[in-house]
């Protein structure tokens, strides 16, 4: 019955928009939270009947019978967690109840879109859900309606449109060849004529489309603006999960289930991955806007995932997916921290801050956990996923890329250390004497995410057996 993951949120939105405005305003947050938590809970139980029982009437109604594998479960889990966090952040940072209600509606829409992306087993459905997510994202970015917000949203809109055109074109070309857009059909078509120029052109277009969606170098131009201009909740959602689902998850799904590996594709993935990783990290080093730095950091981390994917081995893919999940956690955490800092101090300019950990200890310490995880310092979650990616690269013979990944790790550490130095660790800067720690709405998600990061890092042997290794069935 996984299709319920699309229908129930849809119904929830419709229900929320019934009259009784004031009631609904109050209910919206809890409804959203319930949706996210239920999804999280379900994803944590791969054996649950929910995933495996056929959706009889529903299937007939929608003509849709998705198959759920471990990759999807990981994605649902990440979507659920980040969604819940986003709701908390929204609750924390959006004061006006009416606005919050609207935002939560759009958030739920975006979550639904992402669920659809994960569930889709047909290229066209995938496209449709990508668009849902994208539209919801545009709205969320532009939500504050400042100049920056519109600029960010507009850039995302335009480049996304380009991506859409490319994906559509690829769809058309594949349709021509395969006659159907279900994954299975396309896979068969590609397998039967791997050297057909039409197919190859379609693959190239598809790749570029997904690269743009995922914000990989050199298709990343929209990303820093969009992330930094978006309101707190939206940037958590975008950075944590949206681009990862629309860009990276789809890439992984298509490469593994539809296109299949070949040398050229691997070269492409490795190269783009490495370029994103390095350029993202280097660019992050030069930022003084907290969120913009995190945005570049996202580009860099996405590079790791693509690099892992490009290794072309089970281990690499496991690493990529694991890193995707970890990234969802720690990058959300960092954006949560950024939200707290921005809300409390009223600025995002790191050069004006300093020593905030003294006044905001929880934010400070959770940010330490998050950045160490991002930089790949054990025993935190990010270390293990990076380790797996590097091991995979090394074993696949791509030692240079492995070394580059290590180097990028160092750069990651460098820019985060610079961030820590300027924001949290140091003497309290002038003007922040009366700074207060954020309230529970922001501290709870921060702590939960930090605990997840630590927990994954510590519990990796168990997680690796139960959650990660089953992913190998993809290949």
């Amino acid at each position: 019955m996984p299709a319920l993951l699309i229908l129930i949120p849809l119904l929830a939105i419709l229900a929320l928009n019934l009259p009784w405005k004031s009631l609904m305003n109050r209910l919206a947050f809890w409804v959203g939270l319930a949706l996210c938590l239920v999804q999280t809970g379900l994803a944590l139980q791969p054996q649950s009947r929910f995933w495996h029982s056929p959706s009889l009437w529903l299937g007939n109604l929608l003509l849709f019978e998705p198959s759920v594998d471990h990759l999807s479960l990981v994605m649902f889990l990440a979507i659920g967690i980040v969604g819940a966090v986003t709701l908390f952040v929204c609750r924390y940072s959006t004061a006006c109840a009416g606005n919050r209600f609207m935002v939560i509606n759009v958030l739920i829409l975006a979550l639904t879109g992402m669920n659809g992306v994960v569930l889709a087993n047909d290229l066209f459905s995938l496209y449709v859900f990508l668009e849902i997510t994208a539209v919801a994202s545009y709205i969320l970015i532009a939500f504050e309606k400042g100049r920056d917000a519109f600029e960010g949203a507009f850039k995302y809109l335009i480049l996304s449109a380009v991506a859409t055109v490319m994906i559509l074109a690829a769809l058309a070309l594949l349709m021509l060849t395969a006659g159907d857009l279900s994954f299975a059909a396309i896979q068969a078509a590609i397998a039967s004529s791997p050297h057909s120029r039409v197919v190859l052109a379609a693959i190239a277009l598809l790749m570029v489309g997904l690269f743009i969606k995922g914000g990989l170098v050199p298709f990343h131009g929209w990303l820093p603006d969009a992330y930094s201009a978006a309101p707190a909740a939206a940037s958590v959602l975008l950075a944590g999960i949206v681009t990862k689902t629309t860009g990276i998850y789809t890439l992984i799904r298509l490469v593994t289930s539809v296109i299949g590996y070949n040398d050229t594709l691997q070269t492409l993935l490795l190269f783009v991955g490495a370029a994103s990783m390095l350029i993202g990290a280097l660019a992050a080093l030069g930022q003084s806007d907290f969120k913009r730095m995190l945005a570049y950091s996202s580009i860099s981390q996405v590079g790791y995932m693509v690099l892992g994917l490009g290794a072309g081995t089970v281990l690499g893919m496991v690493g990529a997916i694991f890193h995707l999940f970890n990234h969802a956690i720690f990058k959300s955490l960092l954006f949560v921290n950024a939200a707290a800092v921005e809300q409390q101090s009223g600025t995002r300019d790191m050069n004006r801050m300093g020593g905030l950990a003294e006044k905001m200890p929880v934010t400070g310490w959770t940010s330490v956990v998050a950045f160490l995880s991002t930089a790949g310092i054990p025993p935190l979650a990010g270390f293990w996923s990076k380790l797996i990616i590097i091991v995979a690269l090394w074993e696949a013979g791509y030692t240079t890329y492995a070394a580059l990944a290590v180097l990028a790790s160092l750069l990651t550490l460098a820019y985060f250390l610079s961030m820590q130095r300027r924001v949290f660790f140091g003497k309290l800067a002038a003007g922040f004497e009366s700074l207060k720690e954020g309230n529970l709405w922001i501290l709870v998600p921060a702590c939960v995410l930090a605990l997840i990061t630590i927990g994954i890092g510590v519990g990796i042997p168990w997680l690796f057996e139960t959650f990660m290794l089953p992913i190998r069935s993809l290949l």
Binding site: I158, V208, G221, W222, L411
Partner: protein, 618 residues
């Protein structure tokens, strides 16, 4: 007696030393008598060891380290000598040091020194030897540093010089153990040559530095000024010589078998000759009682090294005999110096004079001791020097210029005599520079040691068979001596006559010099300010030739290079790496103009490239 009694000479002073440290500063007198009692006991015990040959092995560390002690005639001899001088100097200190600060520390370090020297002498395991030997650095440091508030500079100098030499010894011992395959000294008999010679040189450096030979000497004159005087009599005067020459003999005779034909023998002889000459030349021009003596303490080592370096029996016997003689008269001389310092309140010769009548006993002792060191018959110094001359000539026969060693030694004698004439003249004769009414003869506790030592000088000269046949010749063993005995009047009359001629020459030279300058103090000025020598002396006085200063300059040079390397590496991290990274970062940042159209065109360019790659790559 039980073999374990061997531990007594080591443990007794050390335990007593710890107790001495526990005394309060006010209880200086009690402390002094306590220590005198301890050293007297020590003397009695070591005397009772006489004639025994013991071997004591106790377990110590891992790795086959054993606490092995061995009592041989040689070690017994040194042990006894150390005990005698320890006792005498301690007795002397009781009066001399009275009222000074840090007395408890002084006596504590004093006793430690004795115990450590005993340990080093008794050791039959190289590591045990090294352990005791190097530990002496601590007492050296301690004893100098308590002299006066500024003495630490000298203490540091002494410790650095000795420490460097001791490290060489450490390396040498490591090599020796490796080469010999054992740590037990009495089991090591290595021929010289090849790597063995390297090991020998390292050990030799350690031994010579302890004895105070050049170029490890330069702390001694400084210490003479800064340290308490009994320290000078004890360490550079007595124990250091005993220990250094003891070890030098051991390595030349037992541990390595030095032959006259190996190149190490002339090396030692050269070092010996140079030490004799240079140090005595410096002694000649000193204007301070203690400093003058201290240069002699260096110079005399040269004779010993020269004697042992000959590697012929007569030379070695001469060197060892000279060692014990030197210990006797040099410590005696330092004690007279102490008496003068205590009573007249100065050691600067310009402030002294005419003390002979006020301190007759001291003056008499001084005359005999000075005659001994100058090699005037029939005092002990004469006999040992003759033996060394003999050895130098015998060993020198192998080479064309072998006689130069003898000549150098003889010349050294000349200057020695000259400098002591000057010293005696300036201090005890002439017009008194201080108020004579204030100066009295030294107290009995100071006189007794001086008298005993002076008596020893006469005894060992007149009855030189006692030390030679009883103490020294057994060290070499019958097989080396081949039935010879070196006791009695010197074998070669020619050498004796030459010696006497030189001594007379020195006396005439002194008379001339004193007349020329008008005072005893200026008796050596004609040499001091001789053309050619004057600039050298000048520079030497300014310490330009001090190996320590030169060494520190070299070290500083090394340090500067190292600093440069270190800063250079740091530059790579702190500046270069950061700059490169930020150059890249700034480049990337500049590219991100925020222009949508730029981003669009990147995407299109990317698209073109990717299409080209995917379609071209297949």
């Amino acid at each position: 007696m039980n073999v374990r009694f061997l531990l007594v000479p080591i443990l007794l002073p050390i335990v007593a030393g710890v107790l001495a440290l526990l005394f309060r500063n006010r209880q200086g007198k009690a402390c002094a008598w306590f220590c005198t009692a301890v050293t007297a006991t020590q003397l009695a015990i070591t005397a009772s060891f006489f004639g025994q040959e013991w071997n004591l092995i106790l377990p110590w560390g891992a790795f086959g380290w054993q606490f092995a002690l061995k009592l041989t005639p040689f070690s017994n001899f040194i042990l006894l000598a150390a005990a005698v001088f320890g006792f005498l100097i301690c007795l002397y200190s009781a009066a001399f040091m009275n009222g000074k600060r840090f007395l408890n520390q002084y006596y504590g370090y004093f006793l430690f020194t004795l115990g450590l020297v005993n340990g080093a002498v008794l050791a039959d395991n190289l590591i045990v030897l090294l352990f005791f030997w190097e530990s002496l650095l601590l007492t050296l440091f301690g004893m100098i540093v308590i002299g006066h508030p500024g003495a630490f500079k000298t203490a540091v100098k002494a410790c650095i010089i000795s420490g460097v030499a001791d490290l060489c010894l450490l390396v040498g011992i490591g090599m020796t153990i490796y080469l010999a395959g054992t740590m037990t000294i009495s089991q090591i008999h290595l021929p010289v040559g090849g790597l063995n010679s390297v090991a020998f040189i390292f050990l030799m450096i350690g031994a010579m530095a302890k004895a105070g030979a050049m170029p490890f000497h330069s702390w001694i004159p400084d210490a003479a000024v800064d340290a308490p005087l009994p320290f000078m009599a004890l360490l550079p005067g007595a124990l250091d010589k005993l220990l250094g020459i003891y070890f030098l003999t051991r390595i030349s005779l037992d541990i390595f078998v030095l032959t006259p034909l190996s190149w190490l023998s002339p090396l030692l002889m050269i070092i010996g000759s140079i030490t004799i000459l240079l140090a005595v030349m410096m002694a000649l021009i000193q204007k301070d009682y203690k400093r003058l003596l201290s240069f002699h303490a260096i110079s005399q080592v040269g004779y010993m090294i020269l004697g042992i370096g000959t590697a012929v029996p007569v030379g070695i016997v001469g060197g060892l005999f000279h060692m014990i003689n030197n210990v006797i008269y040099k410590s005696g001389l330092f004690l007279t110096g102490g008496a003068v310092e205590k009573q007249a309140g100065a050691t600067d010769l310009a402030k002294l004079g005419g003390l002979g009548t006020r301190m007759p006993v001291t003056f008499l002792c001084f005359i005999i001791l000075a005659a001994s060191i100058s090699g005037v018959p029939p005092f002990n110094g004469f006999f040992s020097k003759e033996l060394v001359y003999d050895g130098a000539l015998e060993a020198g026969r192998t080479w064309h210029v072998g006689w130069t060693f003898y000549a150098a030694a003889l010349l050294g004698s000349f200057f020695t005599a000259a400098s002591f004439l000057k010293l005696g003249h300036a201090a005890f004769l002439g017009k008194p520079n201080t108020d004579p009414a204030k100066v009295r003869e030294a107290p009995m506790t100071m006189l007794i040691p001086m008298i005993i030592i002076t008596a020893l000088c006469i005894l060992f000269g007149v009855w030189n068979a006692l030390p030679l046949e009883r103490l020294i010749q057994p060290i070499l063993g019958e097989h080396r001596l081949e039935g010879h005995t070196f006791a009695g009047w010197p074998a070669s009359m020619t050498l004796v006559i030459l010696t006497v001629v030189v001594l007379v020459g020195a006396f005439l030279n002194h008379l001339w010099g004193a007349k020329r300058s008008g005072s005893g103090l200026g008796a050596a000025d004609h040499i001091h300010y001789a053309p050619g020598l004057h600039p050298l002396y000048d520079r030497a006085e300014r310490r330009l030739f001090d190996p320590y200063e030169i060494g520190l300059k070299i070290t500083n040079g090394i340090a500067r290079i190292a600093w440069g390397i270190d800063r250079g590496i740091d530059y790579l991290y702190d500046t270069a790496a950061v700059k490169i990274t930020y150059a890249l970062t700034n480049g990337i940042r500049k590219a991100h103009t925020g222009s949508l159209f730029a981003y669009l065109s990147w995407s299109l360019a990317g698209l073109i490239l990717i299409i080209a790659l995917i379609l071209g790559g297949i």
